[in-house]
């Protein structure tokens, strides 16, 4: 077991109102060595907060209030600042959506990568140079161009250079948070291929965070679907796509346009996620769920095994029957009778809350 996230709870506090937002609420999952694990969810569901909690790079108002993050058995949440700094880059690499904007415009790429090495290791000049050349080849950029400045690279190349930089010290875990969201499909395709290749070659594990289900389908061995700070479903990627159990996953499948298959009209999920300030003890998807029963509003269902290595947090699977659930979830009427309002029944209340939530509630995922 490389990474073990155990009942993680991360909160943000608004300094002016003292309101607390529970961005991640009791999330657990594990990543094996060499495995690639996908975390999908909508903006504001807490997926990036998980990445930041693992890296311990939360903003000042963010706090891990419960749970553990174990890397090779060692709890990262307990570490002091200096040992934690040593873990970053050496053991865990982080590639963010805007990574390409993190390059310093006044230094060459080569200088910046070497600076990162020097912060952690004392390698000879030759060794550093060899390593940079090797990595440029791995991410498919002509090594001659390592002496270029960032403005001489295209967006896709910058992102690839950042990947090279993140991997320079051979980390055990790569966390990629929307690594291709700002790029077009062709650059995305190239980068995903390189990531996959690098991962196989180095034997590193990967946590891939994205809102794009098709990226996860292509890249990951196992997948967790996240909704409003909690995991809705977790299992082998193939099972999540072919035999989903949670109504939210079923809904996402309907809403997702595909390049293949029939051009049926897509079905959206009515409503919007609930505010994460003082969440009630209830299923967070209940207000948008066509299968919700009174019990869903009185207690928050825990993750339960539904198949081999496959868990879902839904209390209604047995009562409704999964076959019936899947059948009904494929029809538009079922979803759009939940509420008459088109998009967002709780719009006003959500909007008001959104204004007071300190971080990342809206507009996160762009393309």
């Amino acid at each position: 077991m490389l990474l073990e996230i155990d009942d993680l709870r991360t909160t943000y506090t608004d300094s002016s109102t003292e309101d607390t937002v529970t961005a991640v609420d009791g999330v657990s999952f594990q990543i094996e060595e060499g495995e690639s694990f996908g975390l999908v969810g909508e903006s504001g569901c807490g997926k990036s907060t998980i990445a930041k909690s693992i890296m311990r790079i939360l903003p000042d108002n963010g706090r891990i209030s419960n749970g553990a993050v174990r890397l090779n058995g060692e709890d990262l949440t307990e570490l002091d600042a200096e040992p934690m700094r040593q873990r970053r880059w050496t053991d865990i690499a982080f590639i963010s959506q805007s990574a390409m904007n993190a390059l310093d415009p006044v230094y060459t790429i080569d200088t910046q990568i070497k600076e990162a090495i020097e912060a952690h290791e004392s390698w000879s000049k030759q060794r550093m140079d060899d390593r940079v050349v090797e990595l440029f080849e791995l991410v498919g950029i002509d090594p001659e161009r390592r002496h270029d400045y960032p403005h001489q690279f295209s967006g896709g190349m910058k992102q690839r250079a950042m990947i090279a930089m993140a991997l320079v010290l051979d980390p055990d875990l790569i966390i990629a948070d929307e690594p291709t969201t700002a790029l077009d499909v062709v650059s995305q395709d190239t980068i995903l291929h390189h990531l996959e290749e690098l991962q196989t070659e180095t034997g590193a594990s990967m946590l891939l965070i994205t809102h794009d289900m098709s990226v996860v389908a292509e890249m990951c061995d196992r997948t967790a679907v996240m909704y409003a700070g909690e995991l809705a479903e977790r299992g082998p990627t193939e099972a999540i796509f072919t035999n989903p159990y949670h109504p939210y996953t079923l809904g996402l499948k309907n809403a997702f346009p595909s390049i293949h298959g029939g051009a049926d009209s897509l079905i959206s999920i009515p409503g919007a996620p609930p505010p994460l300030t003082n969440p009630a003890d209830a299923c967070r998807f209940a207000d948008r769920c066509p299968f919700a029963a009174p019990e869903c509003r009185s207690s928050d269902p825990p993750m339960k095994p539904v198949a081999e290595n496959h868990d879902a947090a839904c209390a209604r699977i047995n009562d409704v029957g999964i076959e019936t659930m899947r059948e009904q979830a494929a029809t538009r009427e079922v979803w759009h009778n939940v509420d008459d309002a088109p998009d967002d029944a709780s719009g006003a209340s959500r909007g008001d809350e959104a204004a007071s939530i300190p971080t990342e509630v809206s507009g996160g995922d762009s393309a």
Partner: protein
């Protein structure tokens, strides 16, 4: 009936502007849009797809008259767009932008956002039009939304308000530039269906600009694939998606991720970088990245023409590739076709 027609439309930008342009002898140009011809009928949704930097957004801006044409002609209802007065033109052509978080004025209520264009154009029946427009955009009942500010509604609703605002003048053309890429998947579908409804029920012509072929496929009747300012392939959506014939279209399709983990992605192509749009190569622009490139591609400029293959010949289907003349083009050998 043809509503909007682009005839060899081109837009070049100077690489130097201001004093630099006056002093330098050799003015260079970025050929952002290069001889593009499209025909949009009423109620048609034409998708404009391509990588970033291919000129698709510039083309949208040219039609919006944000940029002036360098060469060629664009006609609306048969009349060149320059002949229209500004007000008259924007009565007919409206736009929906990518980011509803930015395109709505945060200090105006929904009612004010929708009333603004009506005031500018001097319409008296504002109340009725605003209501009708909101209802069409599925923001019902309108009373619930009229007095809210953008921060009080969700992202999906914001984009619906943006669509309603574009509709309030009852335009015949709507240009939508990546209108759903900022929205979450679960609400994206609703906005996409709204565009479809707009074309089907109100006969609005939509130019839908996006790099995401999967969403384009869902709502567009025709697709134009752009690369370095030129249209590479143009035809009915199904034709383009199921039997892509231009190598670039194939590349785009095979790069689009598929939400099906059982599918094997065996095709791996590492792309050469795109040529510099200031210094375009002779012949086909795609030849450096093309696995089918021949000597002919170096010299001969490729023009759009229908593929020769008999049973697939379709008048509306055009491609700019020497392979168009190839009658033996074997669809089965095309990797993305076997997916």
């Amino acid at each position: 009936m043809t509503v909007l027609e682009l005839d060899d439309a081109s837009k070049f930008f100077r690489t130097q502007t201001g004093l630099g342009a006056l002093l330098s002898r050799d003015q260079e140009y970025i050929k952002a849009v290069n001889d593009v011809s499209l025909q949009l009928d009423d109620g048609e949704i034409v998708g404009l797809v391509g990588e970033s930097g291919c000129g698709k957004t510039t083309l949208g801006k040219v039609v919006m008259r944000i940029h002036e044409l360098t060469d060629g002609e664009i006609t609306l209802h048969g009349r060149p767009i320059e002949e229209y007065g500004r007000k008259e033109y924007f009565q007919e052509v409206q736009m929906v932008f990518q980011d509803p978080f930015k395109s709505l004025n945060p200090q105006m209520t929904v009612r004010e956002q929708l009333a603004e264009p009506l005031k500018v154009h001097g319409h008296d029946d504002r109340k009725a039009r605003i209501r009708e427009s909101l209802e069409f955009a599925n923001l019902t009942p309108p009373d619930q939304y009229l007095d809210r500010y953008p921060h009080e509604i969700s992202g999906g609703e914001k984009q619906r308000v943006a669509v309603a605002r574009a509709l309030v003048l009852d335009p015949s053309v709507v240009i939508a530039d990546e209108p759903v890429s900022m929205l979450d998947v679960s609400i994206r579908a609703g906005v996409l269906n709204l565009f479809r409804q707009l074309a089907e029920e109100r006969d609005v012509t939509i130019l839908y600009i996006s790099h995401d072929l999967a969403t384009v496929r869902h709502i567009c009747t025709e697709i134009a694939v752009m690369y370095l300012g030129k249209v590479m392939e143009y035809g009915p959506t199904e034709q383009i998606c199921s039997t892509p014939s231009h190598p670039y279209t194939e590349r785009l399709l095979s790069a689009t991720p598929v939400a099906d983990p059982t599918q094997d992605r065996s095709k791996v192509v590492y792309d050469q970088e795109v040529p510099d749009p200031v210094d375009l190569p002779d012949g086909c622009f795609f030849k450096h990245r093309c696995e089918f490139a021949t000597e002919a591609c170096d010299e001969e400029e490729m023009h759009l023409r229908p593929p020769a293959k008999a049973e697939s010949a379709n008048e509306d289907w055009l491609m700019a590739c020497h392979r168009a003349a190839d009658t033996d083009l074997d669809w089965e050998t095309i990797p993305s076709h076997n997916l």
